[in-house]
Subunit: 242 residues, 2 copies
Amino acid sequence: MAINAPAIVLVRPQMGENIGAAARAMLNFGLTDLRLVAPRDGWPNRAATDNSSGALDVMPPVQVFDTLAEALTDCHFVYATTARMRDMVKPTFEVKSAVDDGTQRTASGQKLAFVFGPERTGLENDDLTLCHALIHVPTNPDFSSLNLGQCVLLIAYEWMSAQSSSYGKPLTLNGSLPATQDKLEEFQRRLEQELDSKGFFREPTLKPTVSRNIRNIFARSELSEQELRTLHGVVTALLRDK
Amino acid sequence: MAINAPAIVLVRPQMGENIGAAARAMLNFGLTDLRLVAPRDGWPNRAATDNSSGALDVMPPVQVFDTLAEALTDCHFVYATTARMRDMVKPTFEVKSAVDDGTQRTASGQKLAFVFGPERTGLENDDLTLCHALIHVPTNPDFSSLNLGQCVLLIAYEWMSAQSSSYGKPLTLNGSLPATQDKLEEFQRRLEQELDSKGFFREPTLKPTVSRNIRNIFARSELSEQELRTLHGVVTALLRDK
């Protein structure tokens, strides 16, 4: 994680449990710069520690500020999260696009902050004026009920996702190589011969099609060598006299 | 949300609170098909209701099953979530690529399931053999501590995000549906019985592993119904007396 990874700023959080959940969510995705503005129950907070799954024990010390402005002094660009759309003229991102935007800014040396409001009320307009852009998390219009820890989780998750470029094709074999084509061909040919000797291909005209269909099943499975050996064993066993 | 939106399947969940958190996470992002396999404390569960923020009151009734196989009978493609990488040959996705893959499948009429294991232990290998692909949530290697509700939240969030931005990707089956899980299970069971009667499982202690490896080969192939009929025919032919 870059040295100037973003700060997560919780403004006037009420429940220690939520602060702990936020810390846990952050550390799962490699974020460690947690800042609190006027937490209701002071700091440190036992409920926060208990609910962080140990995250607060290993992260750098949480910084506590009286005002949001003080919490943001070293930040170059600040995103505010909002549950509802605000009547305020500001760039508004969804989570992914905010994180893409932020990744570019971080690469050019900017320090970012993601700001979250109090549990029930969200950020006040005075808080929002200190922020450069809004992040709106689109949810089910009939049931929009994300809590603070969940919001932090989504931002942290997207942040880490954006930092890694590992998105792409699924890996089938957990790092081991599939069997080479000659081993696969050897199995396919053997199976065909055995089927032939058992009268499986009753309609000679259909044989190419049926045979192709069977080959296709195994060809697309990216079989490992061990799996091919197992399949040879299966065929041998089925052929065995009782 | 599409009528055939994915099912979320919780296998042997322990804490009612986590079931409630999962329901809340789902409904926030428009998913409502929640299935439980052998929940430790039975069902309904007061702690689940209390922790769902009302989600369980407005969602369709949760379905409860004795086994994972029963929970999946109507599903065409099944993703298992795992915290650690498994020593099992299966396509492995990250969350975004899994959800992109699933979006394409849903568009072509497939019913999907995302399967989550018990809180402490995760899914067992026997559960995994019923699934076609794995989803690995990449987290901080030094602090990997996502709970069940958080995992469901990430999948549900990505699911909703992907519904507005999917891109083209060829499907394996060219438009026809894969066989449902019950048809696949029927074939797997028959093959095992035939192998058993032929003395294939010489080492009784190894039977579960070998049997799982064989199941896994076919489970990940997304067999069509036609292909399953062909494989039944292959087994019948190999068993035939010359």
